[in-house]
Every structure is written in structure tokens, then in C-alpha cells.
């Protein structure tokens, strides 16, 4: 299955590898964008737990930003943040 490409069909639309969602950049769906304020962030990680796309970037236990390749702009992080450090901007 090494020579598989999307235009080489397998029955039922099977893709002979896993983790394919990573290759599908859903950031293009976004019509509003979260603006995260690093200064005010208390690092509670509630945004990271709440994000349905896993687009909140965390390293060494700290939020480092939001991955715009995958963020769909749903606004759940902004809604859930107890310290209002995420705001949704248009576009």
C-alpha cells in the first residue's frame, strides 16, 4: 500500500494509514479568530481541555499559542476562559 494516493481508490474509501486528520488543515473554515493574551493568561489550561480540535498549543505544561492551521474559530476557548484572556476577532 506504499504507492497509495487519494486518487488510487481502495474499497469503501479506506486510507491505508492512520492519523490522516493531521493532513486536513481545517483552519480554512475560520471566520473569526481567537486572540490570546499571553501576559494575562493564568495557565489554567481550560482552553486546552475545551478545544474540540486540539488546536491550543501546549509545551512544558504551558499554553504557547493557538495553531491556526486547525483552529476553526468556534470560540469555545474564549467562552470557557475564566479570565477573559481570549477574545474572538473578526476574520
Amino acid at each position: 500500500m506504499k504507492d497509495w494516493r487519494a486518487d488510487k481508490l481502495l474499497p469503501g474509501g479506506i486510507i491505508p494509514k492512520g492519523g490522516t486528520a493531521r493532513e486536513y488543515k481545517t483552519g480554512g473554515w475560520r471566520s473569526s479568530t481567537p486572540k490570546w493574551d499571553e501576559e494575562k493568561c493564568k495557565q489554567c489550561l481550560i482552553c486546552w481541555i475545551s478545544c474540540p480540535e486540539g488546536a491550543v498549543l501546549v509545551k512544558d505544561g504551558k499554553v504557547r499559542g493557538i495553531d491556526m492551521d486547525y483552529c476553526k474559530g468556534c470560540g469555545i476557548c474564549a467562552k470557557e476562559c475564566p479570565f477573559n484572556v481570549i477574545e474572538m476577532a473578526e476574520g
Binding site: D7, P11, I15
Partner: protein, 403 residues
């Protein structure tokens, strides 16, 4: 101790013959949700599970939508999977039926044909399976308990064949066959085991060393339409597989199957086309009328999907008149089988006259009287070359309809 490996001829119900086929197949996963009249199959099978004589993972779920979902998951994982249903249960599975066939999962499901409500009714008709006509499932019909057993065994091979990889629905008439007692011949366990073999799944989901993705999105920029053509092509290829499997089954059982059975059809001038148990009653009347010298015959369709249009046209072309019996109705059209037989005959230079009888809805009896009535009308159509009515009802009570 009773030796279970010997060939047995027993008197039993259609439901228990199907359960016996399932015991001998011994699937990896059996998913069950009860619905009359299918319940008898699963009751029997659950006893095999309780007695420890099958290895199947027996999953009881909270609805038929869930039962087909569980079948889909298990089949994608690589298991050999079976379930059974009827009527409202099949209707509740409806959206999942398309997912099973679209993901090319060889699930085998006996469907004990029962009417769909309303009015509420638990008895036999074919409105359940006819409603699932376009779901991409292979549909096979069984005249009696023996055929239900034989078809269930063959369904495993047809479904899992690499040229096919499609789910198969084995239909048998609710109560008439599922609960009626008949003589049935069972094959030896070992013969069945060798016949069905083991499933060799293509890219199973549970092969953790080779991860695969099932059910991905396939939108505007993708290949949805190509996948659908691929699926339709597989259904086309199932034609040869159905015949090959039937040949192989004949070698171990002595019982021959094809797309349909022709009964006294070669030299007939008029014939009935029907599905399932009504064929048995019709054969009896064919014999009676033949004894009186009348040129009558029967064609009993076994494979409804794939639909053997070419072969049907060849088998029916010499007839003067054909009556298609439908145990279902498509309001605003005719019976569903009638429309399909009609289209199968369209390309013939000279076509038989065709009439449609709706019979047996909600379990209404189809007796020798109804079969005789159908042949009587057919003989008249053959003689005059005209049908008074294209579609009519058999066994309809005369009642006043108030509004």
C-alpha cells in the same frame, strides 16, 4: 452424547434453521436486538452462547440503529459479523445500511420479512426489505426453511469474496417460514466449517501494526462518485460470485441454486413471478392446473439485488402473459417487483403481457384459491391479449370505506 457432526434431517422452524446455520458458521461477533418475528432466531442463538457451544461475542444493544452500528464497527475491525432483524428494525437501521455497504463490509443479516406499520401489524409482507432496495445490500430470498438455511451459509461466502465485499440480506417470510415447522436437512458441522472458511479482511482496523482510516470525509474535491461507481461495480461482480458459490454449495449439499428457480416454465404460456414462500403455494397450483392440461408455470426469484434482468428476460420471453406478485406496494406506483420485471422485459422485441397482483399485505393469506385466481386471470389475458387491470389485489376483503 449426541453426535452433532452427523447429517441430520429434522422437523423444525425457519428461525431455528437460521440459528443453526449461525451456530455452524460460528461468527466472531453476533449483534442482537429483539423484534418479532426475528426474535426466534436470536433466542435460539443466545442459547448456543449460554451453553458455550459458539465462540461469538454476543452483543446486545439498545436499538437496531445501534445493532447495525456495532456490526459496522466489528466488521471494519476484521471480524465475521452477523445480526438479524425484521420490519421496523430494518427501517430503524436504514441510514446504517448505506454505511455498511458504502464501507464495503461483508455483514450477513437474515431479515424475517414483516409488514411496516401503520396500522400496526407483526405479520409477513415484504415492505421492509423492498424499502431497503437501494441501500447497496445484496438481497437473497428464500422459499422455505431449507432455503433460508442454505442461503445463510452461502451469504457468508458471497459477502466476503474479495470481488464483492458487500453486505448480504437473507430474506425469509415472517411466521409462515420463521415459525412454521418443516422438514430441513442440515449439513455436517465440518462441511459447513470448510465451506465458509475464515474471513480474510482487507486492511482490518484492528491490525495495530498497520494503522488504517475507515470512514474518512470524501467531499467536493474528493472521489465520492468514483467510490460509488466502485461499489456498484462490486455489486455487478457479485453476479458471478453468487453462481460460483451456488455451484460449490451444490457439491456439498446436492441442492442447486441460481438467480431464480424455473418451475414448469419451459413450455408454459403463462406464468407467475414471485418471491419467498408464496412460490410453494403457487407450485402446488401449477401442478393441479398442469394435471388439467393448462400451460402454466412459475418463476421464483432468489437474487433481487443484484437484479438478474438479462436472465429474467431470457426466461420469460416466450410467455404470452406474466403475473408479477408483489407482497409490498409502492403507493403511487405499482408493486416494486412488477416495475423491475417490466423494465427487464422492455428491451425484448416481443414482450409478454404483464399484470401485477398485490397480495399478502400484513400477512393476509395467499392460499390455493388466490393462486388459482391469479392463473385464471392470466389465462384470460393470454387468450384476449388484453388485461382489464394492470394492477389488482388478491385476497382483498370487500368492505365499505367511509372517508
Amino acid at each position: 452424547m449426541k453426535d452433532m457432526s452427523k447429517k441430520r434431517i429434522v422437523a423444525t422452524t425457519g428461525a431455528s434453521t437460521v440459528a443453526e446455520a449461525m451456530r455452524q458458521i460460528n461468527p466472531d461477533v453476533v449483534v442482537a436486538y429483539p423484534i418479532t418475528p426475528q426474535t426466534a432466531i436470536m433466542e435460539n442463538f443466545s442459547q448456543f452462547v449460554a451453553n458455550g457451544i459458539v465462540n461469538a461475542e454476543y452483543v446486545t444493544v439498545e436499538s437496531e440503529h445501534s445493532s447495525m452500528s456495532a456490526c459496522i464497527g466489528s466488521s471494519a475491525a476484521g471480524a465475521r459479523v452477523m445480526t438479524a432483524t425484521s420490519s421496523q428494525g430494518l427501517a430503524l437501521m436504514h441510514e446504517m445500511l448505506y454505511i455498511a455497504s458504502g464501507m464495503r463490509l461483508p455483514i450477513v443479516m437474515p431479515n424475517v420479512n414483516r409488514a411496516l406499520s401503520a396500522p400496526i401489524n407483526i405479520h409477513c409482507d415484504h415492505s421492509d426489505s423492498m424499502g431497503a432496495r437501494d441501500a447497496g445490500w445484496i438481497q437473497i430470498y428464500s422459499e422455505n426453511a431449507q432455503e433460508a438455511y442454505d442461503n445463510t451459509l452461502q451469504a457468508i461466502r458471497i459477502a466476503e469474496d474479495k470481488r464483492v465485499m458487500l453486505p448480504v440480506m437473507v430474506n425469509l417470510d415472517g411466521f409462515i417460514i420463521s415459525h412454521g415447522i418443516e422438514k430441513v436437512e442440515f449439513l455436517e458441522d465440518e462441511k459447513v466449517k470448510n465451506f465458509v472458511g475464515e474471513r480474510e479482511p482487507l486492511l482490518p482496523l484492528l491490525d495495530v501494526n498497520n494503522p488504517v482510516t475507515y470512514g474518512p470525509f470524501d467531499g467536493l474535491g474528493g472521489f465520492f462518485m468514483e467510490h460509488k461507481k466502485n461499489q456498484a461495480d462490486a455489486m455487478e461482480r457479485s453476479r458471478e460470485v453468487i453462481l460460483e458459490v451456488a455451484d460449490e454449495f451444490a457439491k456439498i449439499s446436492g441442492r442447486k441454486y441460481g438467480f431464480f428457480e424455473e418451475y414448469m416454465l419451459d413450455d408454459a404460456e403463462v406464468a407467475i413471478v414471485t418471491l419467498n414462500s408464496s412460490a410453494g403455494t403457487t407450485k402446488y397450483v401449477v401442478d393441479e392446473l398442469r394435471a388439467k392440461g393448462l400451460p402454466v408455470g412459475l418463476l421464483k426469484l432468489r437474487a433481487f439485488r443484484p437484479f438478474p434482468a438479462k436472465e429474467l428476460a431470457e426466461a420469460l420471453k416466450h410467455l404470452k402473459a406474466v403475473a408479477v406478485l408483489d407482497r409490498a406496494i409502492s403507493p403511487g406506483f405499482t408493486g416494486p417487483l412488477f416495475g423491475e420485471i417490466k423494465s427487464a422485459l422492455f428491451d425484448l422485441e416481443k414482450r409478454p403481457r404483464l399484470i401485477n397482483f398485490i397480495y399478502g399485505l400484513g400477512g393476509r393469506d395467499y392460499t390455493l384459491h388466490e393462486a388459482s385466481k391469479a392463473f385464471e386471470t392470466l389465462m384470460d389475458v393470454a387468450k384476449t391479449g388484453k388485461a382489464k387491470k394492470t394492477m389488482d389485489y388478491l385476497g382483498l376483503k370487500e368492505v365499505e370505506v367511509l372517508a
